[in-house]
């Protein structure tokens, strides 16, 4: 019998097993085709929806490709100056200790200009959640070198490849932050395969849950592609990411709460 089911018969609401969360707006994402920012946005919004937190959430968008996150996430949001999202979130959270407050930041934003704000929010153990999208480059401004750019990698400002002796080393900021007593849960994920998406979502759920329990700062890094900045197709970029980014930025939990 089943063989006879038509497409129209299958595609009815009762049978729906996956649909974009209603906390993503109808606006088309401004990201390049295949950019991981979109998936990261979706997972965060799914968790907020599933945990029923829309009314309790205040998000902070950075300066970077995700500067327009507020156009896509159907929650109250503030746009922060470049690098300052953790300070902005601190200001919110201190005054609304029961709201769910998060920042969403790129690697330039978080690990270059925002180093001080990031490190000190973590050191104070601000009870906020930081989502950190590390694509090893400044996507927004046209593909310049970021602190997390890999050695030898060519970017608009390292056209002959990053020379670590003059331009510094890929900054493993996440490992540093995990050393601070103020951070509670620190993890590194990716969103380029179904399995990784599922894991990343679990991590996001934890990071939200721990904030509700007032455990301190939770930090979720998502290693992602910037296919435009890397000058690759999306598929190529994900492969390159696995082969080149993951060895330097290995996926997995970096700091987990002691049981």
């Amino acid at each position: 019998m089943s063989q006879l089911l038509t497409r129209e018969e299958i595609c009815v609401p009762e049978n729906e097993v996956y649909h974009r969360t209603c906390l993503l707006t109808d606006a088309a994402l401004s990201y390049c085709p295949g950019c991981g920012h979109g998936t990261a946005h979706r997972l965060i919004m799914e968790v907020i929806e599933e945990m029923n937190l829309q009314a309790d959430t205040i998000g902070v968008a950075p300066v970077g490709c995700s500067v327009l996150a507020y156009d896509f996430m159907d929650i109250d949001m503030q746009q922060a100056a470049h690098g300052r999202a953790p300070a902005v979130a601190t200001g919110i959270k201190r005054l609304y200790p029961d709201k769910f407050v998060f920042t969403y930041q790129g690697d330039g934003d978080l690990a270059a200009i925002g180093t001080g704000e990031t490190l000190h929010a973590c050191n104070r153990g601000e009870n906020i959640t930081i989502f950190f999208v590390n694509n090893g480059i400044y996507g927004m401004t046209g593909g310049q070198m970021a602190p997390t750019t890999l050695p030898g990698m060519k970017t608009a400002t390292s056209p002959f490849g990053r020379d670590v002796t003059t331009m510094g080393y890929p900054l493993k900021i996440t490992e540093l932050l995990a050393m601070l007593p103020g951070t509670y849960y620190v993890t590194r994920q990716s969103v380029h395969t179904p399995a990784n998406v599922r894991k990343a979502k679990k991590a996001i759920e934890k990071a939200v849950q721990y904030q509700k329990l007032k455990k301190g700062l939770c930090f979720v890094e998502i290693v992602s592609n910037c296919n435009s900045g890397w000058k690759m197709t999306p598929l190529e970029s994900n492969k390159w990411m696995e082969e080149n980014m993951f060895p330097v930025y290995p996926l997995g939990d970096i700091k987990v709460p002691k049981p």
């Binding site: 205040i58 949001m77 746009q79 300052r84 300070a87 005054l95 000190h120």
Partner: protein, 371 residues
Amino acid sequence: MKDIRLMKGNEAIAEGVIRAGCDGYFGYPITPQSEVLEYLMANNPEERTGMVVLQAESEIASIHMVYGGAAAGKRVMTSSSSPGISLMQEGISFMAGTELPCLLLNVVRGGPGLGTIQPSQSDYFQAVKGGGHGDYKMIVLAPASVQEMYDFAKLGFELAFKHRIQVMVLSDGAIGQMMEKVELDDQLPRLTDAEIVKKYPWATTGKTPDRPRNIITSLDLNPVKQEIINQNLQKKFRHIEQTEVRFERFMCDDAEYLFVAYGSSARVCQKAVLLGRAKGLKVGLLRPITLFPFPVDELARLAKQVKGMQAIEMSAGQMVEDVRLSVNGVVPVEHYGRLGGIIPAPDEVLHVLEQNFIHSKKEKQYEPATY
């Protein structure tokens, strides 16, 4: 019975913000204003009103914590002194672009650079013309006494929320460090979260089903929209110019010569006016209390009455430009300034005025321009 105390200016404004129902202070130590944070930490506002006080890791962090709190509808503030305020310029510009209310205190010290910790008025341009990028104005209040340091806490928050604008109290090391009598008001309650939701529907307090999401942003890449945003900002500034000018006239009614000075300098000039009057000179003082909006009309009016205006500043000549723009050539406007942390003396400034206008050959008949 009135609650009267002897307080430092820095302490008075700290007490003032607690009593004005401030929700949060974020700041970083710097002389000569560290007493603001110290007073708040010692006087337990967390217990008194629930106010949050946090020492930030820098002035930049401070201003962005203020941004976050303000964008969520809270009464928040920071304070610093000149170099620290310079560091906040990007943040201030962001608050201007998002029209967020807040209170900023600059207890000015002498610059440029590390300069000196002594009082100065050399940050007038930065406060009034715009130290940050873009076309914006803050309301700038210039206290001339410890009482005003206290009073401008409440006034500052009122104006900030009335106009959704940043209010800067432009004080200096003298006003910040000196002790005077202060009369304190009763404690105002802080707004509850529910009241904030109601009073400030624009605030990012969490999107509830009854309204669309709130967004605080200064970005718009569409030039047409961005121009409208900017035009609306400008309209607000024009409105504030119409409605919020504050100044003090001291013996102006029959004045032939006018001191124009604010803050500490105005204190000095007030004494100079008395000295001058004792000598039989018809001297007066116009003290701008709001530096933006500047008392343009009052000065234009006085320009028709007096023979000359003497601006006195602890700077190389900043406010004097606004005096000149107000007067527009109708009477001569002279500037006298002390630099490097030195406060001029009353007899000194009186002497300058006499030299410039009374004893000198410079004095001429001025024909008022006709437009």
